[in-house]
């Protein structure tokens, strides 16, 4: 399919816009979740959306997105509350609370799902698709709903920007200022639920965790400021959504959700490696530079102090020798040592020796 044909394709437009909306909402909200060390809460909430989806279907009898959103909001929030209750009122830790809520709500969802399947309803087809998402079935009307949620959530976030920021980085201080820290934390969690709801259609409950974590984790590498991080996370989210959806459409048959998730993961890996300042690759480069510098100094020192001893012939030593020769510090000779310091080399060596003796009393 040619590109202009693809771009005017109705389904493709829907899928790409939907995926972009998902990235736009999950990126910024994911930043708060990741910074508050609640990355896996998104996972628990998204699994907990399943019973909500089923309940709304049982009540309304259709898989209309509005009802599904309300249903999954309710059960998602309930799961988050149960998690808080279990960890606050007993000696269970957060990880156990998360695992319990995730698996139990999902189990209830499975029970309800099989209950619906048992009750001969023709409209139930596609309900299961929420497990993995069904991007291709996205309707224009769904996009309006997803767009409205995204817009409302981001507006809310902008309105409570200062409070959300303070609670994220220093909840204690926020409390001493008299801010309703608990309410703001609850609001941030509820907003993650909204992001999850938008993602259900696109990537499904199972992979939603990645859409919360990955854009935020990538963005964290590029920015030290919350605002910048949010913008980058949104951009990463949108980019992975659009890329994943496009590949899925072009390949015909490869699931959209996994492709979006893998694109986001790839961006995380690139960010980890290349981000300025924090990137692992720069760290490695710096390490090798320092190592080479140290070896050069050691060799200069040795040649200066013991000019008649031939340098070692290991690979590393030979590499250092040629590096020094390139800088014009060394000259080849015919005697046993094989090399000798040039005038420039001797001057540099004196600096090294002076620096060394200054450092060792």
């Amino acid at each position: 399919m040619a590109w202009h044909e693809l771009l005017s394709d109705y389904t493709f437009q829907n899928v790409v816009i939907g995926a972009a909306l998902l990235g736009l909402i999950s990126g910024p909200l994911g930043c708060f979740a990741v910074l508050r060390r609640q990355s896996l809460l998104g996972d628990a909430i998204s699994h907990a959306a399943l019973p909500g989806i089923c309940l709304s279907f049982i009540i309304t009898g259709s898989r209309d997105l509005g009802g599904i959103i309300i249903g999954s909001l309710v059960t998602g929030t309930l799961a988050a509350l149960l998690m808080l209750l279990l960890t606050r009122k007993s000696r269970l830790k957060t990880d156990a609370g998360l695992g319990i809520c995730l698996s139990l709500f999902f189990a209830v969802g499975i029970v309800l799902l099989t209950y619906i399947q048992g009750t001969r309803n023709a409209a139930q087809g596609g309900l299961e698709a929420f497990l993995f998402g069904q991007a291709a079935a996205t309707l224009r009307s769904d996009l309006w709903v997803m767009g409205a949620i995204t817009l409302a959530t981001l507006t809310l976030l902008a309105a409570f920007w200062k409070q959300a920021k303070l609670v994220t980085f220093d909840a204690e201080y926020a409390r001493t200022l008299g801010m309703p820290a608990a309410a703001i934390e609850a609001a941030l969690t509820a907003m993650v639920t909204l992001a999850v709801v938008v993602g259900l259609q696109m990537v499904g409950v199972v992979l939603m965790a990645a859409m919360i974590v990955a854009p935020a984790a990538a963005a964290r590498q590029w920015s030290r400021h919350l605002g910048g991080m949010l913008v980058i996370a949104a951009a990463v989210g949108i980019a992975s959504g659009v890329t994943g959806a496009s590949i899925s459409t072009l390949s015909r048959g490869l699931a959209t959700g996994p492709l979006i998730v893998l694109t986001a993961t790839a961006i995380v890996l690139v960010s980890l490696a290349l981000a300025p300042g924090r990137g692992l690759l720069w760290g490695i480069v710096k390490h090798y530079r320092q190592k080479a510098d140290l070896q050069s100094r050691q060799l200069l020192y040795a040649l200066y102090r013991h000019p008649e001893t031939p340098p070692r012939t290991t690979l590393g030593a030979r590499r250092t020798l040629s590096r020094l020769a390139r800088k014009g510090y060394l000259a080849r000779t015919e005697d046993t040592a094989g090399v000798t310091l040039t005038d420039a080399g001797r001057a540099r060596a004196r600096q090294v020796v002076a620096a060394f003796e200054e450092a060792t009393p």
Binding site: V34, R37, Q38, S39, L40, G42, D43, H47, L86, K89, S90, R91, L92, K93, D95, A96, L98, G99, I100, L102, S103, L104, F106, A107, V108, G109, I110, V111, L112, L113, T114, Y115, G118, E128, L131, F132, V206, L207, A209, A210, I212, V213, A214, A216, A217, R220, Q221, G253, L254, A255, G257, P258, L259, V261, L262, T265, V268, L272, R278, L280
Partner: protein, 301 residues
């Protein structure tokens, strides 16, 4: 009742459910105590990757090769998570949230590409089919025993053999890793062993209950037990009892309402957890409230 229990389909299903619970909660107990419960989530999702890879390489959907493959995938998951967290660029929880969806995604895509007409599909992967365990039997002692029951029993034995063999080492490594290390018990190695068993159990339980419900069987009975006792060995006993009770109750409720058997068994473990949470003798909400009320007059003086 007894006739019903000996009914050709009920007993195998209940036994498999109970065995899944006993084997999973054995390893789950350590995960809960160490604060690594969510690793069961990560492992149970990423073994989909392992299962698909082993299937593509060997054509086998179950059996020992799959168990070993799963153990290695579990290790891979934990290794990747630790490696990511070790870069200090992402936190531990975010690292888990990055690794398992990625592996799961690769697994699903490989299924998309290679599996058009095979039995493993994404549906089975998530839900399992405990209701059909009695269809696939092997002849043992002249009796048709469900394949799943044999696998799960073997897994239970292996798990408890490992725990029995390294009981005091595991105990110390769980409650005081620093001291265990000082004694030369290699707590990290023990932990990796435990995680390999967790993955193998997950893959063994896979056909029966699916990826997500395995988490319920691993974490929930162990958590309930944690709320009821301070003794490690007692946690195993309680975890096993809850698993058996959940399996029996879950089966009959599921049959009654005509819903997913595995799902209902998992829901039952949740019911026991809520009971332990509310009514536990020492750490339960009610007991604590009563104790506070009893102590209130004394506090006033």
């Amino acid at each position: 009742m007894i006739e019903e229990l000996l009914n050709a389909t009920a007993l195998p299903i209940i036994l498999v459910g109970a065995m899944v619970g006993i084997a999973s909660s054995a390893v789950g107990t350590f995960l809960v105590l160490r604060g690594n419960s969510m690793l069961s989530d990560a492992i149970s999702h990423s073994i989909v990757f392992g299962i698909v890879i082993v299937w593509i390489l060997t054509g086998q959907q179950s059996g020992p090769v799959q168990l070993i493959g799963a153990a290695l995938t579990g290790l891979l998951t934990v290794f990747l998570t630790e490696a990511l967290a070790g870069t200090k660029r992402v936190k531990q929880d975010a690292a888990i949230g990055l690794v398992f969806p990625a592996l799961f995604s690769v697994g699903v895509l490989l299924l998309n590409i290679y599996a058009h007409d095979v039995h493993i599909d994404t549906h089975t992967v998530l839900l399992g089919e405990i209701g059909f365990v009695w269809l696939d039997t092997v002849e043992l002692f002249g009796l048709p025993i469900p394949q799943a029951l044999v696998t799960m029993s073997a897994m239970t034995l292996i798990n408890y053999a490992f725990i029995g063999l390294f009981y005091k080492e595991l105990k110390l490594a769980t409650f005081d890793p620093a001291l265990a290390k000082a004694f030369g018990f290699m707590p990290t190695l023990l932990f990796y062993g435990l995680l390999m068993l967790t993955s193998s159990t997950a893959v063994a339980a896979f056909d029966a209950v699916g990826a997500v419900l395995f988490i319920a069987f691993a974490i929930v009975p162990a958590s309930a037990a944690y709320l009821l006792t301070d003794r490690l060995w007692m946690m195993f006993v309680i975890g096993a009892l809850i698993s058996i009770a959940s399996s029996v109750l879950g089966y009959y409720l599921a049959v009654h309402f005509n819903v997913s058997i595995g799902g209902m068994m998992a829901v039952m473990t949740g019911v026991f957890l809520i009971l332990a949470f509310l009514g536990g003798p020492r750490y339960g909400v009610i007991a604590r409230r009563l104790r506070r009320r009893r102590l209130a007059p004394a506090a006033k003086i």
